[in-house]
Structure formats: C-alpha cells, structure tokens
Symmetry: D2
C-alpha cells in the first residue's frame, strides 16, 4: 500500500507511521519529493490489510492510504483467470452462450405461473423466475405467497422442465427455499445483509447476487466474496440498475458495469433490464444492449396480463412482447457468434 | 390519486382506466384540458392504494399516476401531530432536549469499553454506544466480539449507569441482543432487511433506524412503518449520511433531512456525524450543525486511541476531542433554549 | 396541472388558491376525497405555465403542483411525431442508418490529425471529430490550439472529404467555429450555458448537444428547446455518461436514456462511449450496446498513439482498436437491419 | 505521484513506464511487493503534472495513477495558510465574523427591490442580492430585466448603502455588470463555463463562485483556481446544495463541504440555504446549521410577497421569516463567539 502523510508531517510523526507499519508486519520505503513525502509499504502475504489501512488512516498525520491489492480475492480474475461456468442441469452460464431467465415478478396463482412458464419456455427461455418471498418497500404491499409460492414453482418445473430461480429474504428461509429452487436469488436490498450472504454461501446451490442500489462494483464483489469464502463459488452477478438523480426511469441500468466486472472477476454476469429501467417500453432495447455488451444471461419479468399483476406490472412484458424481444436477442447473439 | 393518460389516449382506453378504477373501489372524475385529460380518483379509506397504483401504471395508455396520500401512516405527522418521545430510563428523546450517545465503533476489549464509557459519561454523554455484531464490507474484516461484546456492554452499563445502544444484524440475534441492549440499532445496510425490521418491531425495545445509504426520506419512513405496524412505535430515525458523487468525505451528511423528516413524521431524529463525514476533523462542525438544525440527539464514535481502533479509527474522536465537541454543543443548545 | 393542498388547508386558503388560478387564466375543478382535496386546473393554451407553477408552489398551503403538460414543446414527439433527420452533406442522421464519428479528443498537430482522419475514414467513419477549443477542469491543462486547430480541421476535411464536428465554448467564438465546422458541439459542461445555446440556436449549422453531467433527460430536452426556439432544429442529442457514485468508470453511460429520449423527442441520439466510460477497454462493448439500444450515431475518440495524447489518452482507441470496433458495430447494425 | 502497473505487467512494460517518466522529467523508484509492484515518481517543481498523469494512464499496462500533490495551487491552504479576507467597502468576509446577504431571487420592479432592500437592511443584512440576468432551465421562463435590473440595483445601493451582489451569465456582460455590482456571482450552472471564469478573473471585483450541481469539492477549487490564475483572488466559495437521488428537497445541502473546503482552501465560504433546500420551511434550520458548521456568510432569498414572485417563491422568505432567521443566527453566532 502507499501512505501519503499530510504536508507538514514532522520527522517524528513520520517515524510513528513507520513504527506502526513495522508492528503490523509491513516493510516500508520512503520517497521524498520536493513538496511531498510518500511511503510505500509491503506486507506479509497473510497480513490483515483492511485493518492495517483502518489504523493508518486513523493517524492524524496521514492524509490518505492507497491500497494496491484488490480487497477481494476468490472472485477476482487475478486469482482465477478463466471464466467460472455456473451449471444448472444442462444449462451452462458463463461459457460464451446466452441464457434467458423469465417469469412473473411474483407468483400469484397456479394458473398465472403455469401459463407464463409455458409461454416463456416456448419463446426460448431456459430458466423460470418467480418470487415467493417478496421484499416490499411498504409494509402494506403484498409480501408474496411464501411456501405456497415455492410449491407452485416446483410444480411449474415438474411440468415444463425449466429450472427455477427465486429470491430468499431471510436466513431462516434458506433451507426451505433450497428444497424448491435451482438458483437462489439475493435481491438488491439484501446485498449487504451479511447474515444472509453467509447462509447462502454455506449451501451448494448457485446464487444470483443482485447489485445493491447504491453499491459500487467493488462492494458488489466484496459481497460475492462473502459467499465464496463460505465455499460456494457458483455465483452469478446480476446488474439491475443503480440509483442516480435521474427520475425518468426507475433505476439507471449501468451498462458499463457489464464489461467492467467481467474484467475484474471471473464470475458470469446477468442483466436485469426489467428493474434496470422500470418501464416495459425500455426493456427490449436495454436487453439488446446488455447482450451486445457481453452479458452472459438476461432475466426479465413476464406476465399474462400486466395490468392485473400484483407487482411490477409496469415493467412486465406481455407474452407477445417477450417473443419479440427473444427474436431480437437471437439476432444479436448470432451476429456476435454466441448461441442461445 | 391523479391519473395522467398518455396524449392520444382514445375514449375506449379512457373507459378501460375508469373500469379498472371502479373495480378497485375508486370513484373517478375526468378533467379535459385543451391538450391533456386528467383523471382524479378517490378511494375507500381501506383500499389498497399501492396495489391500485401498480395496476394503473401497468396500463399502456397511462403515462403517470400521482399519489395524493402519503404511503406511510403510523409514523406520519398527519396521523399523529404531536412529537413521539422515546424514553430509555430517565432519558427522554424528542421532548426538546438534546441527548448525546457516544462510545466506540466496536467493542474491542473490557478495558477499551469501560475506559471509553467512563470518559464519555464524564463529558456529558447520556447513552453508551458500542458494536458487538459488526457489518463489514469485507468478509476478511473483524466481525465483532458477538455475545462476549454484549456482555461487556452490560457490564459497562452496570458500572456507569449509562443505557446501551448496539446493533443487531440478524433476526436470529434479536432475542439475545434484547437481553443486553436498551436500544436496538438497525444499521444503514439493513434498512431494507424487512425480516429484521419485522423482528425488532415485535419487541418492546426502542429501535434506532439508520437511513439507508441511498434511501429517500420516503423510503426511510416506509422502513419505520414496518416497525410500527408490528406494534413498536418507540422509533428513533438516524441520519448518517447518504451516498453521492462526492468522494472527499465518506458520505454526504444530509442536513436538510433533519427538518424535512421532522415535518413529515412525529419521530425523534438522531444525527450521526461520525459516519456522516468519515473524518475526525469534520465530526465537530457537523455535530454542531445538526444540533442547530434541530436534531433531537447526536451519536458519535469515541475511542481511547483511535489509531489502535479495529474499525472507524479515522472518524473516531479522542476523549479530548469529544470533550471539546460537548462544550460546543452545550453552547449551541443553550443558545437555542434547549437543555442537554 | 394538478394542485395538492396541504392536509388541513382551510376553506379560505382553498379560495386563495382558486383566486390565484383565476388571475393566471386557469379554470379549476375541486375533488374532495375522504382525507385529501385535489384541484385540477386547465389553462389557456398560451398561459405561462412555468410561472404559474412557481407562484402556486409559493403558497404555504400548497404541498405540491403536478404539471400535466411537458415543459418543452418544439423538441417533443407530441409536437412532431416523425423523426427529425439531421443532414450534413450526404450524411443523414436519424433516418434509421448508423453513423460513426471519430477522431482525436484534441487537435494536437497537422500530422496527428491527418493521420487519424485517414485511418478513421478507411475504417468507415463518416464524420471527423477533433477539439480546437478544449474545456479543461484545470487551468494548467492544455486548452487546445484554438483557431489554428480549426484550420487544421478544415484542411483534414479538404483532404478526406469527411465533414467536421468540433466544440464551441464561448458565444464570441461561434462565428469563427461556424466557418470551419459542419456540426457545432456543445459540451456537457456547457449544457446550461444559456448564452451559448442561444447563440448556436441563431446559426443554421447542426448542433450536437451533449447531456450535462448531472442533467435529467427533461433538463437536456429543455436545453435543446433553447436552441430550437431560436430557429435551429437541426439538433443531435448526445448521451455521454452521467455522474453517479460509481468510481470504477469515469462516468456512468446511461443506456436507458437512448430509448427513453427517443420516445420523448423526435431528435436523433448520438452515443459517446469514450466519455461515457473513460476506459479504452470498455469503449467497444458500450458502443455495441448503444447501437443495439437504437442510437442513431456513435462518436469515439481515436489517437495514433494514445500514450502520447495530450488529453483523454486512456479512453482513446488505437487505429487497430477502432477497426475492430467498426467490424463489431457493422455486425450488430446489420443484424438489426440498419445500414452503416 | 504513484503509479500502479497492472498485475502481470512484464519487465519490458515496466521499462516503458520508466522511460515515459524519464522523458516527462520525473525520477522514479520501484517497490516490488509479493503480489504487486509500485512505482513512486517525483517530478521537477514546474513539470506539467496533469499532462503526465493523462499520458501515464493511457499506457495499457498501467492500472492507476495516484496523484500526490493537489491539482490546484493558488487557492489551497498548503500554498497560503492564513485565511483570505474578502473586503467589500467596510464589510470583511473571512475574518471570523458572520455576514448575511439577502434580497429577491430576481429584480422584478423598483418597488419590489427597494422594499426588500430596506427590510433586509433593517433586519441586519449587510449585502443586497438580486438577479438581473437569470439563468432559467426553460427558454419560456422569465430571463430577468437585464440592464434595467442592474440600474435598479444601483439605485437600491444608493438609497440603502448596501453593496450589491448579482449574477453574470455571459462573458460579454462582465463589463456592464462590473459597473453596477460590488460582487460578481457565478452561478452553479456556469461553474465550468471557463470563458466566463477567465473573464471575471480579469476584473478586480470580488467573485462569489457557486459550486456546480454535481461538482466535487476538488472541481470547485479547480474552478476557483481559474479565477485566481487571472490575478483575482478575492473569491468567495458558495455551497448551494448538490444533486443527489433525494427528491424531497430541491438539492442536498452539503454541510460537510463547509468545514472540508475550509481545511483545503483559505477562501471564505458562503452558504445558500435557499437553493440548498428549495423549501421555505427548511431555509431557517439549514442557515442555522451552516453558521454552526462555520460558514463565513449566508445568502438567502427574500420577497415581499413570495406567492407573487416570478421565480423561486417557494424558497423565498417573507420579511417576517427573514427577521426570525436573523434572530436565530445572531444567537448561534454569539454562542460561538462570532460577531454579526
């Protein structure tokens, strides 16, 4: 790491920094410029770097500490250069192909779910999404069917053969969700719910980790590292839009994040244009963009009759809208030499 | 609510909106302007407004739905005009007085905690803060002493008489934290951890709810409503800085939020200038500002030797720094006619 | 417009609102709900709506005013349903084809410019970009060659036949820039420099208006309206990334904005992935994404030797990098049935 | 500066970095850690650091360049440790006292201005504000009285003795505004209008530079440096709120910025709670907060009858509201030992 002492740092204060570095197991080198002095420090491989940075930054004579090594490890491409391929039955995500996951925001009824599952399968979706436990900003909103919703998802899988992805909200529900789901989803609101991350990290189910609404790419990878350190490295990173000042769309889909995170990490990236835009008329264009930018998978909300949806109707595609989108995605995937 | 159909909405499409409103239990009135038509709709008192808004927004001919009523209720000043006073033993927060809570970011050891508890008490703090369960961005960082930390907090209370506030991260820990804490803290990272909100809402301990890093004031009040709907209305709202583009400070302390939320809600407001700035040299000025803006309480991090702190040393005050800040706060409180 | 009086607004206060509406030429209708009252107001076609909103919001008994009509007119799709096609010589932007503009960030020398112009032309670029007047955050940075740069651009056009786009910073320079440029560029930093907008609005040159770093889509269209009201409607809207909390990239390219603005306005949209990402390795993926999302044109920075560039080297493509990107864009354009 | 090569950077690539540093006049030192290599580089005092950083970042083998020296100079506290005091007649800003500037957003008429000038003077304001040239988001909004407005301001000064601050929008207007104003205001929308900054930097009038809506503190100081490099160092920095995701207030007043910028720069800081909040009911609390945080001056909008204001009525104080605020500010200033 590199330590920048404040201008006017005395020799004695400099020695204090060096003593602290020494006590933390770091060897240091001082560069004295005309106006400023800089300290480079190299630690033992197993030194606790984040604690060291915290302690150095606490010294009043230190202006800044610049970390050199990335703070996450298992999920970084420096650690594992080749792509992770997440496998769910026959489906592989991260091997260059394009996978589409689709289904209703929320499981509302047997009919609604089965009808949607059949329609998205026919149009080419490979995985069925559907929420049984729903995080809602308002306590007065529908919170999902819970266990009954999970059972309907199992039924839909049995009928269609589509593996199922569904969200888990509470560490106490991880076990029951694992019984029914093929992929566990961690929602944006829970990206920093570390108890939950540890719990899903202890399972052997693939996990789709949504980026928090105001999480930097680095923090998102930190959250993935929480899961990986528990032994579960079958992780999908899902970009679903970030919060910005723009109010014309529900979120701002961060298209830059797709190639940026693929350079930093070996994990596959999923794009969620439904939440990333919040408006049905923007889902198609942004799904196309995500595929063109290199997303490994796309997840979208589809509903038989969006104006009757209990949640997210405004961003849900109709069956027909989904079919059109799939045709477009096939064109782009094929133009880029990717199979779908 | 007010519904704005898109320009070019046909009469038939308008009728569809009216039929949907009717089926949802709303009576409607149409205003036709030269260029645009507007529908006003009035619902039964018990109608599910958020579901109605979702469904109306799903119609392709609807441009926007403007809610008229606030989406939260129990925590709103419209519902309860007089201030809620949160009581912890003899201490009252929300009655016009100023309360200061202080202590280490993290409980590190018996000595560190007791020494700090004595120092902050002597300088005038009324409540002791200290983290036993710590949310950490990195899985490699210190995660707190857990149960042992809770016991040390109990010991510190026994010795100093200061009530204790500490964070709870996991719904499964609420019970044990309640045994040791006088106020439960919900951290910014868990503001939308609805399972946890429901769990603390079911206790009878006061809860300090930190604003999420990118939560609007409205979402913050929604989260408080989650707690209140479970029957626990002893809630403190804590402004701790929001995430913006500015990188010179750890967060941007939203000073506007203090009077804004006091106008919208009857709940007391606590200011956290330690996290709100992230830099020791800014904590004093921003604490003073928060008091001048009307905060009911201030919570700050204090450490016997910040450069040895395991966490947040850069934003922790020394004992001497804390004493200076307390003197300044007393001057301002007294100038504004508030006791401390 | 719709006016929401505060809860507890008295009848007398309501009458005051109605009198104000009347004096502003609006006819009003009151809807009384169980808990809240709403006023709908319809104005004469020529009433000054923004002033009316300002005045209504100033009344203490008014909680909010919700405008119904869009605040811009000439640039809106409601006003002109069919696409504007911006024409520069033979080139048409906005007719469904894809146009690429490329060249150095800054005109540095005759050699650098001509070499780049030839290379980008060969690879398929249709318009040459290059900065003669450069806005620089620091006063110590290179500010461009000025008039000499303009002359070099004219020379490059003469040799290659490529029309030229270049930025104008100062209303006093509009005349001289018009002598040399085929398209005038208004940079992100000047999107709210209204003097400059009026000045370019008075010319008959096409204008490319970059979105301000923190401008909403609505404000961006307001700025375009400034140009249009002066009589110049040959306007290109350029998305170049917005400022968010994310620091891994220079800006956050707002992919949502491409289809969103195309729905709101008839003006063509240009994507600038160079500034939108700030990193060479992300330019290609985001350019592809922008085309897939429907951008009418793409503008990118290219330099013969980026590590010798005076500005923006880190985001400039090499000639080879540009050729690769062009091949990819052709694949995607062709897959979507667009010629290039 | 410190250069971080990418992991996997070869020896040859490292040599290329060293050669570039050498050619730019920097001497370098390499630190090799177990996992990463770091280069420290020290330049000649007059080397062009921003160009050097640009060029280094352009090398594909460079991950990051960390500047060590601050990029601005004349306005930094490292360069001038003692506070700058800006003087306007008898009034000194930056000497520890508190100055209040007040007046209408926009000069609307002789009566409105004179009446307001008298009222704010009586309540203790020392400087009169008022807009003659108004930047408006919409081209259809009132753009100010222009030269007539300036003359009314001169008249108000003649009558009341209050010096006048007013905004200049266009470099071509600087001369005429200088004839009438005592302080030139650069608005938030023009903070990066470098032509205008240079022009006001060439005058000898004090300049109040508002922070741009999405400007970092560093960029704000860069803009001040533009003015200072032209020879004018009588600069006031005005915090007026930044743009964030929060929509409950017009802007988010960045209270942290007041002490943060005072630590970085010797220039006085002015707080604008009118624009910083956008709501009359929040202006008082945030003005008090700004004074408590250490602002050298406060600027607020006052109108005889806000609901008749052509602009910003919703955030304008009435005469009575202004008097109340002044009483509160006096209490706080006096509690902190500052005269007003």
């Amino acid at each position: 790491m590199v330590i920048l002492p404040k201008p006017g740092c005395t020799d004695e204060q400099l020695q204090e920094i060096l003593r602290l570095l020494d006590s933390l197991g770091y060897s240091a080198h001082i560069s004295r410029g005309v106006e400023r002095t800089v300290i480079g420090a190299v630690g033992a491989p197993d030194s606790d770097r984040s604690a060291a940075i915290e302690r150095l930054e606490s010294l009043p004579q230190v202006e800044r500490v610049v970390p050199v090594l990335k703070p996450y490890k298992l999920v970084s491409r420096d650690f594992q250069p080749q792509n992770t391929v997440v496998r769910v039955g026959d489906i592989a995500i991260g091997d260059g192909s394009l996978t589409v996951m689709a289904g209703p925001c929320t499981v509302e009824s047997r009919d609604q779910l089965l009808q949607t599952a059949r329609a998205v399968k026919e149009a080419g979706a490979k995985i069925l999404r559907g929420g049984a436990y729903k995080p809602s900003t308002s306590p007065y909103s529908f919170q999902g069917l819970g266990k009954e919703g999970l059972e309907l998802l199992s039924e839909a899988r049995a009928e269609t053969g589509l593996p199922v992805i569904t969200e888990v909200l509470d560490p106490r529900d991880v076990e029951v969700v694992c019984e029914h789901a093929d992929i566990l989803q961690i929602g944006a609101r829970n990206m920093t719910n570390f108890s939950l991350l540890k719990e899903v990290g202890s399972t052997r189910k693939p996990v789709m980790l949504k980026r928090g609404m105001s999480a930097t790419i680095e923090e998102w990878l930190h959250a993935a590292e929480y899961i990986a350190t528990r032994g579960n490295t079958q992780i999908l990173l899902c970009e679903r839009g970030i919060r910005t000042f723009e109010t014309a769309t529900r979120n701002t889909f961060d298209i830059n994040a797709i190639p940026a995170v693929q350079q930093l990490s070996h994990l596959p990236v999923v794009a969620d244009p439904s939440h990333g835009t919040g408006r049905r008329s923007l889902v198609g264009p942004v799904a196309r963009a995500a595929v063109a930018a290199g997303a490994d998978a796309v997840i979208v909300e589809v509903h038989p009759e969006p104006s009757k949806a209990l949640k997210d109707g405004a961003q849900s595609l109709t069956f027909e809208g989904f079919r059109v989108m799939m045709e477009e995605l096939k064109c782009i995937a094929s133009a880029l030499g990717r199979c779908m």
